[in-house]
């Protein structure tokens, strides 16, 4: 057990690609925590998808032992937090588990919106913050300008910012020293009743659920019986240890320490991030504050392209849910897409990660329906419905009014592109709350409806700013607006999977875009097919797919009969991949493309 004064717990705050993971790798490597031969890039991002996308979803942690210039041995615990807005609550919990942060800013880029959101979380958690200017090896590096920007935009002193190249190793020693000298040691009482925070948890096929904890007061030992305060469940600790970054068993975790426990817990659902763990007997009276169960924000339907894979999809979703308490699901049936699941996610990135994992790890091709948010539908009889599938929209004559979730969005952008960004936000029904400049960069804050953001906002933002804008948001609440359900009809038949909730003023535009897209995606038939977008009985956009005019084999003689018959058999097999709507066959790809969020 390490004395409190020789422990430093910290996290790293950075925007994607500003070098957080590389810096973490360097710290691990320079302290010989991992033998050189076991080093691989981005050691802490363990999942393939995380490593590929350069994002962290689960909190990762590593215990680093460091002999400082003062001759003393220190234990440095790094928690690598998910940096993405979808996981804001998880980030806030990780921040509470440590006392300080390294603020890593790419010295060639400057502060980004995501950095801001996370640094404010760190400030909220009373962190001591050490600014680190990374990538100083690059010719475009501008340390002075970026340091100034940190002071202007974030409002923290950056005069002592450490200049680092995680790539070449310059400044790594200085960083380790700053962690020891500038960050505070944790506080805690070894003799008080056990109080530990559940920082994160995940499922390990051999060990069951592994729980990442930060001990605040008291001690944890193997065989201790502990209580999870949010639900009162009791577990006996089977195993206890730290990460270096591989799991290593130890006997006891004391105040200020970060480590893991396993306790024969079968489902991640039983462990809630932010929960307080105490001892079964003579436990703490009060839980740590700030615990809240996670709530899905974005919903969509996931359907197997091959309907025979429905059971495989059910298995995959069950298994993923074991490891992800923030993901919700229930069975859904669609006339268009057959059997599938309506799933709830923390945000769009979370949605994409889950979808990618199902497709990749379970080899199931998916159709993802348009993402939707939760609408509050207030009925004339005074009842309220939480609507998260447009298909379930009640008859409008019984609806009094509808509320939709709004967000506060922060966007940082070089001022050259500001005009385009403001235009985009206005188009998306945004209300400007703030606009400030820092050097040649502008920061604007907008109140926006979440449903406009889940559609294709990221992609539009990226495209109008050539990728230079950064964006972050937080949910602010619900607001009444003129919302309607838009249905899509193909040959007069409604296609449920394509219906969506839209603002009345935006309905024509969205409807037009949808029918134009479908016109290109549905193959011509032997008759003409009207494709319509409608609100209730009123058609707001219409395209007509003209009839096929020529489809005939020119030559067919004695030697062609067999070939022609086999060709028709093959066509018959291909037709099974179509979904039939009345007389119209719509290929699966049409749904996939029509519903694609990024187009």
């Amino acid at each position: 057990m390490t004395d409190l004064s020789h422990i430093r717990n910290f996290s790293i705050v950075a925007h994607i690609d500003h070098g957080k993971s590389t810096l973490a790798d360097r710290l691990i490597q320079d302290t010989n925590t991992v033998a050189d031969r076991d080093m691989k890039a981005q050691l802490l991002d363990s999942m393939d998808i995380e490593r590929e996308r350069g994002i962290t979803i689960k909190a990762n942690t590593v215990r680093i032992e460091y002999k400082a210039d003062d001759g003393e041995d220190y234990v440095l615990n790094l928690i690598d937090t998910p940096g993405h807005v979808d996981f804001a609550y998880e980030v806030s919990r990780s921040m509470r588990a440590v006392e300080g942060s390294l603020l890593v800013v790419d010295s060639t880029q400057g502060v980004e919106a995501q950095t801001l959101a996370n640094v404010y979380q760190a400030i909220d958690a009373d962190h001591e913050i050490v600014p680190v200017l990374n990538k100083i090896d690059l010719p475009a590096s501008e340390c002075d300008r970026v340091a100034e920007q940190i002071e202007d935009v974030i409002g923290i002193d950056a005069t002592d910012a450490i200049q680092v190249s995680a790539k070449t190793g310059v400044g790594i020693h200085e960083t380790l020293e700053a962690i020891v000298t500038k960050l505070p040691a944790p506080e805690g009482n070894r003799d008080a009743p056990l109080k530990a925070m559940l920082v994160d948890s995940w499922y390990d096929p051999y060990l069951g659920v592994v729980v990442l904890v930060r001990v605040i007061d008291g001690e944890m030992r193997v065989k201790d019986r502990v209580k999870f305060m949010s639900n009162g469940t009791i577990h006996q600790i089977d195993r206890l240890g730290v990460f270096r970054p591989d799991m290593e068993n130890i006997d006891v975790l004391g105040p200020g320490e970060i480590g893991f426990i396993t306790a024969s817990i079968k489902q991640v659902r039983d462990t809630r991030v932010g929960d307080t763990i105490t001892s079964e007997k003579k436990g703490a009276e009060e839980a740590l504050d700030g615990f809240k169960p996670s709530q899905p924000v974005v919903f969509c339907g996931l359907f197997p392209v091959d309907s025979a894979q429905f059971e495989d999809l059910r298995d995959a979703i069950d298994k993923l849910a074991l490891n992800d308490a923030s993901f919700s699901f229930e069975m859904e049936t669609s006339a268009a897409l057959g059997f599938g699941f309506r799933c709830g996610f923390l945000g769009l990135l979370h949605l994409e990660v889950i979808r990618d994992r199902i497709e990749r790890e379970y080899d199931i091709e998916l159709i993802t329906t348009a993402p939707s948010v939760i609408y509050h539908v207030y009925m004339r009889d005074g009842t309220k419905i939480d609507l998260h599938n447009p298909a379930d929209m009640p008859d409008v004559t019984h609806v009094d009014h509808i509320e939709e979730p709004r967000i506060k969005a922060t966007i940082l952008v070089p001022d050259d592109y500001l005009g385009d960004v403001l235009k985009l936000c206005q188009e998306r029904r945004g209300v400007q709350l703030d606009l400030t400049y820092a050097g040649s960069r502008a920061m604007t804050v907008y109140d926006l409806p979440l449903n406009e953001v889940v559609f294709d906002f990221y992609d539009r933002l990226k495209s109008v700013t050539k990728g230079y804008a950064s964006f972050d948001y937080q949910l602010t609440g619900y607001q009444t607006d003129n919302l309607v359900k838009m249905s899509v009809l193909v040959n007069e038949e409604p296609v449920d999977a394509l219906s969506m909730m839209v603002h009345r003023d935006r309905a024509e535009m969205r409807g037009r875009a949808m029918v134009e897209k479908l016109k290109d995606l549905i193959p011509r038939h032997m008759f003409k097919i009207p494709i319509q977008a409608a609100i209730g009985g009123k058609v707001i956009a219409r395209e007509t797919l003209s009839a096929l005019r020529k489809d005939v084999t020119a030559k067919c003689y004695g030697g062609d009969a067999t070939r022609k018959r086999k060709l028709l058999d093959k066509q018959k097999a291909g037709k099974k991949k179509m979904r039939q709507f009345g007389k119209v066959d719509i290929p699966q790809e049409a749904f996939i493309s029509a519903l694609k969020m990024d187009s």
């Binding site: 038939h525 032997m526 008759f527 096929l548 005019r549 020529k550 489809d551 005939v552 084999t553 020119a554 030559k555 067919c556 003689y557 004695g558 030697g559 009969a561 067999t562 022609k564 018959r565 028709l568 066509q571 018959k572 037709k575 007389k583």
Partner: protein, 380 residues
């Protein structure tokens, strides 16, 4: 119930697999060869003829068709010998049709007399275009002038003569095709085969198309416009379509091809030749070895060039009956098989005006004819 083979007639198909040059659009089983041992080929054909003849006694032969390849490159004596042998195996109908396909070059026209003397009474000329630039693009070795002369010689030599044209060619406009087709009917013929250019895999055009180098092909709309213009011009000239791509004055239809479309029986000899024969109430599909050398060797060593022989189940027979029969303007007789499972779809297509069912006869309407593949996709 009368069996199809009795209704549809009985034909003999002879495949000659060689050409002087391979045309870039052609996916038929054809080869270019420098030296051909005609005696050896004759012996092989006669051997095959005797083999299939011994399996099909008691038939009356309606038609013989020499196809290819370029069968007009056969020695007239070989053609004559095959016709003679066929006559020994089966009695001929009084109006037996004996057709040979030919290129309209002056060299071949010189041989027409020989084929006529050997018993051939109908010729089908691969004219393909009445425009020298396009003939070159199609890889044809003859000129328009030669073609016109060959047509004249053929008409004077044989009882019946037909010729082929390909349309919807690269960069062809609707008006160009209309005037070319008008010129064609003005020549005065009782039978025309008019094919839309189809890009087939494994041909030179197919390769070029795949590489995006086959430019100027007509759009679907232009193709449809050309198809309808073709119907109008031919009907006005008294040459209505009796099949998707074949036009004739009444009574001048190709009897041989009607055997295929009416699901009659036919035996096929020569490399890659297919057959449909009903033996012991079982309808068989037969195929011969594709490669000339392989076929020849198999005939010589094993006394058979046949590579496949499969019984067609009832479902396959019904499918072929529709996919071949609906090509014909006369339509199909639905009482031949049990088609009750198709009535729902037939009604749907009928509502769209694409097919027409009167009593037991199902026809594809003039509007439906250019959409036959889509119609068949619903019916088979």
């Amino acid at each position: 119930m009368t069996e199809n083979w009795q209704r549809g007639g009985f034909g003999l198909y002879v495949h000659w697999p060689f050409c002087e040059a391979k045309c870039p659009y052609c996916d038929f089983n054809s080869y270019v060869s420098q030296s051909i041992d005609h005696d050896r080929w004759k012996a092989a054909y006669l051997s095959e003829l005797n083999r299939v003849g011994s399996e099909t006694p008691d038939r009356v032969l309606t038609s013989i068709f020499f196809g290819g390849g370029t069968p007009s490159l056969m020695e007239p004596s070989v053609v004559e010998e095959i016709i003679k042998t066929a006559g020994k195996l089966w009695p001929f109908t009084n109006d037996i049709e004996i057709t040979i396909e030919a290129n309209p070059s002056s060299v071949e026209a010189e041989r027409f007399k020989g084929f006529q003397a050997g018993g051939v009474n109908r010729v089908s000329l691969g004219v393909q275009a009445l425009n020298d630039t396009d003939l070159k693009a199609l890889g044809r070795l003859h000129s328009v002038k030669e073609a016109r002369e060959a047509i004249e010689i053929a008409q004077n030599t044989f009882e019946r003569a037909s010729f082929d044209l390909i349309y919807a060619r690269q960069n062809q406009t609707l008006s160009q095709w209309e005037s070319e087709l008008s010129e064609a009917v003005a020549i005065g013929t009782d039978h025309l085969s008019l094919y839309q250019l189809t890009i087939e895999q494994g041909t030179a055009f197919g390769d070029r198309h795949k590489r995006g180098m086959l430019r100027g092909l007509p759009s679907e709309d232009l193709g449809a416009d050309m198809y309808f213009a073709t119907q109008d011009i031919c009907e006005a000239a008294g040459l209505p379509a009796y099949e998707t791509s074949n036009h004739a004055r009444t009574g001048e239809e190709s009897r041989h091809n009607q055997i295929y479309w009416r699901s009659g029986d036919y035996v096929g000899i020569g490399p890659g030749a297919h057959g449909r024969v009903t033996l012991n109430q079982m309808r068989l599909s037969t195929e011969s070895f594709l490669a000339p050398g392989e076929w020849l060797k198999s005939v010589e060593d094993l006394n058979s060039g046949e590579s496949e022989r499969d019984p067609l189940d009832l479902g396959d027979q019904k499918d072929e009956f529709l996919l071949m029969g609906l090509r014909m303007s006369e339509g199909v007789d639905l009482s031949v098989f049990d088609f009750s499972d198709k009535y729902n779809e037939i009604n749907n297509l009928s509502e769209l005006g694409l097919v027409d069912k009167k009593d037991d006869t199902l026809r594809v309407t003039p509007q439906g004819r250019p959409l036959l593949n889509s119609i068949l996709a619903r019916l088979v």
